[in-house]
């Protein structure tokens, strides 16, 4: 593995960021259009919290481990 390769943490951060957006978006959509069969504890809107957490965690990894353009 050469030193110019993209760190695995960057890939993980990217996926978590995208997943965070999707889950957060889905949770916000659920606020306005409640599901016909709500899950248990749906009043917690866990999707919003979980999605936001994943988005932030992913963003930290993306920024911290973004490939250095000078090295590419």
């Amino acid at each position: 593995m050469g030193k110019h390769s993209i760190p695995i943490w960057f890939f993980i951060g990217s996926l978590l960021t995208i997943y965070g957006v999707l889950i957060l978006g889905s949770g916000i959509y659920g606020l306005f259009v409640p599901a016909s069969n709500p899950v248990a504890m749906s009043h917690l809107h866990i999707g919003i919290w979980w999605g936001a957490g994943m988005f932030l965690l992913g963003l930290v990894y993306v920024i911290r481990y973004r490939p250095n353009r000078k090295d590419m």
């Binding site: 593995m1 993980i12 996926l15 978590l16 709500p38 504890m41 749906s42 917690l44």
Partner: protein, 568 residues
Amino acid sequence: MLAAWFLGGANARLSLNPVDLIIIVLYFALVLGLGFYLRRFTNTGEEFFMAGREMTAWIAGLSFISANLGSLEMMGYAAATYQYGILVGHAYWIGAIPAILFLSLVMMPFYYICKTHSVPGYLKLRYGEGARSLSAISFAVMTILMSGINMYSMAVIMKVILGWDIHFSIWVSSLTVAVYVMAGGLLSAIFNEVLQFFLIWIGCLVIPVVGLIETGGWTGMVHRIQTNFPGQDFIHMWRTTGSFTGNPMGVHWTGIVFGWGLAISFGYWTTDFLVVQRVMAAKDLRSAQLGTVIGAFFKMMVPFIVILPGLLALAVLPFHLVPESQGGLPNVHTYNEALPLMLARYCGPGLLGLGVTALVAGFMSGMAGNVTAFTTVWTYDIYKPFIRKDAADSHYVSMGRWCSLLGVFVSIGTAYLVMNFSSIIVYAQAVFVFFIVPMFGTVILGMLWKRTTPAAGFWGLLAGILTSFALWIWVKMDPNALRHVAFSEHAKDMAENVYRAMWSLIVNVVVTVAVSLFTKPKPEHELKGLVYGLTELAPEGHFPLFRRPITWAAAVAVGFVLLNVLFW
């Protein structure tokens, strides 16, 4: 058509939304992309089979634990928790932590310093061709067989839970693994396992978090379990193990400590090449040892995403789950559905896709572990010594790539074989467990006692394996033999396994020591780098305390003791 398959059938326990589908498809796209991206970094044998031995402690450690964290295990242990209670958590604590720390501090230096490619490779250096051949051939056959069995079991579960077609599940998931392992070898497998580690944790952690909020914390959960199952103790790890009949598993504490904690656990964690290969790929010995300790820490935490959901299922599900033999009816749910049912209970659109991705990721990480370990052992311990000795390095890399594909196809073939002869599962699992246990005795005596001879290495290993077979067949033919093998006629399957493992290890050690005393040992100069007392270990005194493996191993050991006391 693809979307229809993914979104599942009308009889599925869980129904996915388009956003869940996007999450699953994105995951497949990324793992394949990673494989193709990493191909350019795996041109030599050292790069393809050992990931260039350049992994940091964190990458090696997370990959080490991820390769072990298969989704069948996750669902199986959540199911077993519903059946036996928190007692099952011994598999993660006493059944893993002491062995992993032992691997890190005592055995890893020998594996690492001798620069072997595999565990059978160590046996070749230590004992010679006999012990290596026996272990390599058994390991290769059993690994690929287990891979196929896991593949089939996973496909069945996906059919029940998501309504996915069995053939679709088998081919899509296994070919994805084949492509990324074939492209990037161990490096690709390790990187994907680190990714899978994150998905498994983030996907599964939803259940304990929301579940504990619903029950009002641990105390509330325990109260609900006691209300739902009056008179049964599901929440103590040791208190009920003073007798065989005092706990739902039918096991005595001696079986847990000596069979589970010593024989099975040390056998699996210290000699199963599937997991050991990950930390052998670390960039230096200290990283290999630290990576193993990191793996131990996360292994210790796994009960919070596997055992706790099983306990929460006991507390919150409005119906009782039943054994597999009573399943199959529309509104009847079996133990194996405990984890998926909890996912369905708490996860709405998006989160459900994440949870299903976690299960798929768990399956793929386990399978990639099997395939890479099989590929390395086949190429270096079977093909190279017995079929083509002096080929160029590029030839062995090419063999490794094709072998990855071949390994997956053989696994698929095994999955279809199991589909028609389901009893194979029972046989293969028993054989696999009991092959691994005597390996520990052979390896550890070889590492710690320079008097152990090449003949003893071979005959001790063979005697241990034969003992496993013999005891298993004895109980199969005469169920009354259980009271001799497991000291109790009340022993359940899991209890029977731990005692059989204990006997196998005892026979292995006794035969190895006895044969050693009557045969000629290797000269000392041939044992340098392989045996305690003849291997020079680099001093760690110049590293600050917080960078030494022993410090973190001690911290994990303290955590292990505290958890056992807390849940006594």
